[in-house]
Amino acid sequence: MSIRSIILERVTMIAEQQGKQLAPLTDELPLLNSGLDSLCIAIVVANLDDELGLDPLSSDDQSAFPVTLGDFIRLYEDAAA
């Protein structure tokens, strides 16, 4: 599976588990308007760390948090490159 597919799968599963109604997932969708709350996003990040061995949002990273779902996916794709 591609990183994009894994991220979209995790987002969908965690939203369902947490009882969240997701907006249609597009690259332009702002993360915080996606239906995911901060906890859901945090669980996705922790899950991707275990799944992909990638944690591009670690504490020493000073950059701004990705705004859109597309930014979020690209962050992981770049970290894997």
């Binding site: 990040v45 922790a46 944690d55 949002l57 950059s63 948090f65």
Partner: protein, 536 residues
Amino acid sequence: MQAVAFEGCFGWLHQATESFLSDTAILLCPGLGRDASRAHRSYRIMANQFATEGYPTLRFDYPGAGDSCEIDGRECWTVWQQSVQNAADWLRANTGARRIVMIGLRIGATLAALAASTRDDVVGLVLLEPVLRGKSYVSQLMVESRLRSDSATMPDDGLEIDGLCLDMGTVKLLGQVDLRQVKLLPGCSISIFSQFRTPVLAACVEAWRDTGVPIVLQNLGSLDALLRPCHLTDGPDADFRPILSWLQAAIPLRQIPRTAAIALPPSLVSRIATLRPENSVESPLHFGENGHLFGVLCRPTEDIPCDSAVIIGNTGGDPHYGLARFAVEFARRLAAQGIASLRIDFAGLGDSISSPDGGEDLTQIFGIDRTPAFGAAIDMMERLGFQHFALNGLCSGAYHAFLGALADDRVTALLSINLPWFTVRYDKPGPESFARQAIAELSHRQVRALLLFSAGDPGIKALEQHFGLEGTNLRDTPSVVASIVAGLDHDLTRRTMRQIAADKMIDFLQQNPAFQSKSPAVDQNTGPDPIHASVS
């Protein structure tokens, strides 16, 4: 089930209902923060089921969590690991069991596995959506903290999420935990329930299998209800049969002849579990019909006379210790000011069962009348000698407290936080509206009411519909005050927010002479002895 206390921890022992004594007991390790509060009710139901099948079961709150005492500045991770050891020792000593099965959820599973690696009496380990690497858990907490605070970096003094406060030492130690490196003893059978099959999980299973430990890996299935937000009450309860089936197959119950069982001194399992957090004394209370309701009575220390109390209701589906543990913090601050409190679980929530006959029907956040629970709490507190009562709640809890204050003329004060509406029905604004009539009624009874709102809270809309901009029209009813406070969010997620809200409510309350601090007593009966007033 019986409330217990050990080493500053509050817990519940669910005694096996079988006529024989079991050699195997179960220790339930909760998650931390929201993971614990979301699973609290399910843990109670799970413990009851295991006890019914013959396994005495202990569940407890870690130090600094739930109803337990605070950690007092020590590094948390080591304290929590020690508390699991203490709980296991306590369980053996008080049930006569010689073997222990540990069941843990999320970081509680991590703690259970670490404890199991050091004890040869742990014969079973059930890991529910375990945190396998502390690093990913810390990452989760940091990302959430970052999103909540709009800050790019972690604050120097550690992490705070919904009442879970981790100092930097704890964060560092937690980040080093990796269950793949943990060696379990061969006599321990393992069952892992997980929704996700990650490479880390596969590596963990492989590492443990290599040491000869039998492992069963199952889907989380309906156990994901353990992780469901508390306010989502329309889904089915978790089904614990997969755990029980594994348990009965892997670790069948063995009976101990009563003659061979350890003779237990009755003092070990005390009838009343009392904790002594700073400035307060806390005791569990059952009340209501057949004692189906539960609360924690928090009183000032013995030398402070006290006849006034705040009854604190649930927020949403969270247990009595409150969203982000607000009820515990508020209760202990009240006690420091000479005011008692009873933080209660409404029927069906937390540690209260749904009905006096023991049913476990699902509950609804707004749809069930909670005035009987407040009334029963006041009945109990009156029997204990208290005379002045305030009701308190946040969000849905504020709604129920508002209705409770209206329904019971023994209530002389109301402290609502982020009241979402005055009624769930359509309430056309005007002189005849329910809201106006209700406030007039409270004013007529001279109930002092503080309607506290976080700036920007959605509940302000209902306030302003009926009482004008920021509730200015409440000036016609001087005992009722609306206060909109900047810097708070709806759930009071940060400790500073909870402190601000608590200070405002205590200041307001103490304008009423009945709730003002009393001088220390000299040779005076300073209050009730809950031992003599448990269940009606």
